[in-house]
Symmetry: none
Amino acid sequence: MQAEERQLRIAEHLQKVEFAALDELAQHVGVSVSTVRRDLTVLEIGGTIRRTHGGARLINPRTDEFVFSARDTRQLAEKEAIGRACAALIQPHQSVIVDAGTTPYHVARYLGDKKPQIITNSLPVANLYASAGPVEVVVSGGVIYPRLGVLVGPLAVESFSKMHADVAIMSGGGITAEGITNSHGLLIEIQQAMIRAVQKVIFCLDHTKFGRQSVSPLCGLEAVDVLVTDSAAPMDWVNQLRARGLEVIIAPSSSEAG
Amino acid sequence: MQAEERQLRIAEHLQKVEFAALDELAQHVGVSVSTVRRDLTVLEIGGTIRRTHGGARLINPRTDEFVFSARDTRQLAEKEAIGRACAALIQPHQSVIVDAGTTPYHVARYLGDKKPQIITNSLPVANLYASAGPVEVVVSGGVIYPRLGVLVGPLAVESFSKMHADVAIMSGGGITAEGITNSHGLLIEIQQAMIRAVQKVIFCLDHTKFGRQSVSPLCGLEAVDVLVTDSAAPMDWVNQLRARGLEVIIAPSSSEAG
DNA sequence: GACGATTATGGAAGATATTGCAAGAAAAGA
DNA sequence: TCTTTTCTTGCAATATCTTCCATAATCGTC
């Protein structure tokens, strides 16, 4: 096997498992451990992978966005910055649909001051303001998708199909010139209903999402009104999207914001 | 296992349980206690976790716990006894509607083994099995009633009106010869829909509820199939209800049950 | 096609890091 | 205050990493 092909396979394997031991990788590609070591140093310079004692780990674990929010600390600073910037776009007392996913969760954390009406299918978001607070929270029905705390299924789709709201705060697994994609097919239908239910669609996507494509198409770029991202977003992408008429907001990193 | 992967797993586990002992963590990741100690110091520097004597705890305690459910310790022993006894009435793989309130919550805690389908309008109950587990949870839609974490309103009523299930596990504010009453008018309509949706209605009422009357009537005694209470229930009431054809189950107190 | 040069590969030895254990120190509880 | 538990520290055993070298493969040139 060629060296490059081997490295590609190692990278792919790591994309799947996030952590891998040297023996595991060596066996997977059928070479000695020494060679795997060398491949890993190459990949590490490439930037996608980081070597650890005994193996390697993914540097940008594919966050495909729908992880149980409280648990996820990846790109936390960026997500908090996006949360603040996105919350600033909401007017007081608006009705806001909040999508499931970690980034919308962080937006919701900063919505308290606006005394909004929040409509969501995300249990973590619902729990945020369940105990008290000036925020009215409407929860869609649905079946809990294990581990993610998202309500899915016909009940959820139906709930959003019958609703109307001012703004939707959405997230996704990746954005390309063709549009936005997401990982879980189950969620797509719900998200599309959310988009149909509102006047204004705001997408929150951190910088790792640019140029990435998940399995299922969610919507075209024309459906998006505003895109909020963090300061590490690639500027060529930002400019390209602005040229296509999207309002792109770059959340200042917390150090800049004070 | 890799050091970093191990630390990630420890962090994830702590996200779930909020506090964990060293032994527990050591067993969970399969290394010695010493190694867990070292991992915890690393994580503490990382900032997500704080070490304590005997274990570690989360620095940002999750906000999605409810004052009402986990921390209401009044008649805790009785409620746990009722929970066990009532869960014993459920057959494997049944569909179970679980009412809001502390007592049904404790029943739900013991339902895991039965691999049931749980249908509920209670966020604490929903959160119980949100992260994983063999339990399918259906959440009704609705507006969150602050502090209690109950979903109320037309959406909730509608959800239960359209459903069918095997059993309903209900609670109430008081029971008299005229029937069962409850305090929140908002809940009555939902509870009545729950009762209509099932074959078998189980009411869980601790001993303080006998002879008490709340503001709103919920249902007559003829709607009740089984009543589960604790060992401190007044026997004259129990006999009176049994004479009227109700199956009354007295949960053994935990000391008797072992 | 043959030959030398360059590069890739697999293994080995010493260096380094990690792990688990044990003894003394510190802390919590009675 | 005393006992028990837990924490820290030092140490030995193990595992892993780096560096080096011999061999094998590939490439360029003739």
